[in-house]
């Protein structure tokens, strides 16, 4: 089993089916088909978190995690732009801390856009979208410094987080901020659970923008994601069935496994 350098026909077919299902349900939703989304507590809390900062008259912090322009951080920016809109309506200041100089202009741009679309372009302060550091731990210390000196009432952490996650949230907790955090990678979630008020776990992260905005495109995509997941479960069940039925000394010949293991 070498490295998978290229796809085989099975992978291409599987990929196209999953992508097709997702795109199709986006298009269906755009035509106006109503879709259901269950409650996701961590995301429902965002409005409350913004409200708290407004009541206390103190700013909020949004950390985009460590990565540069990546799908994970783009999703974080989608959540950010929703929060900016809420903040703009309630005239609450929001500070964004990025750890990538290439992400900085993108974050700056989406924050400005969100302020504009909320009808308050004058409320945007470019110096509130900050680059802190590309080095993991100086980013952590620098961001903790922002929390402490700006006395943020609410901290949002969405993006790709690693060891620095616990550092940020533990200090945020000690400083008395309400914290909402989410990260697609499971390894830091236990520490978020221990230190944050609300946590967005795994896949809920990618459901966030659909849940928050109820935009048809996004809810449609969410339904498509569920269908693709069902497809994946079907595939796994089939694989388990094959593995079970090929019992015995005759070496397991599981064709599904071969299709998935050997690329070209």
């Amino acid at each position: 089993m070498g490295a998978l350098e290229h796809a085989n026909w099975f992978m291409t077919a599987l990929f196209c089916t999953m992508s097709g299902v997702i795109v199709a349900s986006v298009l269906l939703a755009q035509r106006g088909r109503a879709m259901f989304i269950r409650r996701i507590p961590g995301l429902a809390a965002i409005e409350e978190a913004v409200g708290r900062a407004t009541e206390m008259g103190r700013p909020m912090l949004f950390s985009t995690g460590l990565w540069g322009i990546d799908i994970v951080t783009l999703q974080a920016l989608a959540i950010l732009s929703y929060i900016v809109r809420l903040a703009a309506r309630q005239a609450t200041r929001l500070i964004v801390a990025t750890a990538s100089s290439s992400l900085l202009p993108v974050a700056e741009e989406s924050v400005r856009e969100a302020y504009t679309s909320a009808g308050r372009p004058e409320a945007h302060r470019p110096e509130d979208v900050r680059f802190v550091s590309e080095e993991q731990f100086s980013y952590a210390l620098g961001t903790i410094g922002i929390m402490a000196r700006e006395r943020t009432a609410t901290n949002f952490l969405f993006g790709a987080f690693f060891a620095e996650a616990l550092m940020l949230t533990e200090n945020g907790r000690v400083l008395g901020a309400l914290q909402v955090a989410g990260c697609p990678d499971p390894t830091q979630i236990p520490f978020f659970i221990a230190t944050c008020d609300y946590v967005v776990i795994g896949d809920e992260y990618y459901a966030a923008s659909a849940y928050l905005t109820r935009e048809p495109t996004l809810t449609g995509s969410l339904v498509g994601q569920d269908l693709a997941k069902a497809l994946l479960i079907g595939l796994i069940l089939a694989g388990i069935g094959l593995a079970t039925s090929y019992a015995g000394p005759a070496a397991p010949h599981n064709f599904l496994l071969n299709w998935l293991a050997q690329g070209r």
Binding site: F15, P105, V106, E109, S133, E135, K229, I236, G239, A247
Partner: protein, 223 residues
């Protein structure tokens, strides 16, 4: 010059300075925070040149005379147009390119990343080839039940009503419990690594720094 002693003292003072943040954010920790951020920024600047641009851009362009590298800074500097009202769309153009690349990277990584995880989940449910019932139940059955119930927790668009929905609701509740077990295990699994970082620092302070002058400490904390 021989910087060894200066390195030792600077390291010890920096370490103790950072540790003051454990009391609370204070003027000393703030100073070291700024120094740290400054050093990282300077380091970023100089490594961007020495490890990236010098070898990948300046070298090929000037020494190998590949003239088309002249386009790279033009494209890169388009990012800077975010500060211009009229030309901002050019910044969006290059950002769009990077968005596309991010998406394309996800596409091409999909199978290399996930297909091993898919086919390694193909666990037989009956004893075979050296496995006994206890193995199969303790390992494979539990594995598959957890995998499926946790996945069911992440279905968002199906209401937990009706016969199927209620079943899904129950399964996702079970999935949530398994998730918590997993999170606890991950937490416990990280403790040792984090403590050893601190042991490393204490050994530096006691053995390398104090031990440099008092050999009793060097012998004790050596390990």
């Amino acid at each position: 010059m021989n910087p060894e002693v200066a390195i030792l003292w600077a390291g010890a003072i920096a370490t103790l300075g950072v540790y003051t943040i454990l009391y609370r954010e204070n003027p000393i920790s703030r100073l070291f925070e700024h120094i740290f951020v400054g050093l990282s920024a300077g380091y970023l600047l100089f490594t961007t040149w020495t490890q990236n641009l010098e070898g990948k851009w300046w070298g090929p362009m000037v020494h190998q005379r590949q003239w088309y590298w002249a386009f790279a800074p033009v494209v890169g500097l388009l990012f800077y147009f975010i500060y211009s009202r009229r030309l901002v769309w050019l910044a969006r153009l290059v950002m769009g390119l990077f968005f596309g690349v991010a998406a394309g990277t996800t596409f091409r990584q999909f199978f290399p990343l996930y297909s091993p995880q898919i086919y390694k989940s193909f666990k037989p449910l009956l004893p075979q080839a050296g496995l006994v019932w206890a193995d199969v139940i303790l390992h494979h059955w539990i594995f598959i039940v957890i995998l499926l119930t946790v996945m069911s927790y992440f279905f968002f668009s199906i209401p937990h009503e009706g016969r199927f929905g209620r079943g899904l609701g129950r399964s996702s509740l079970l999935g949530r419990w398994f998730l918590m077990i997993a999170f606890g295990a991950m937490f416990g699994n990280t403790v040792m690594a984090r403590i050893s970082l601190f042991i490393g620092r204490v050994q530096f302070l006691l053995k390398d720094w104090i031990g440099h002058y008092l050999s009793w400490f060097a012998q004790r904390a050596g390990g």
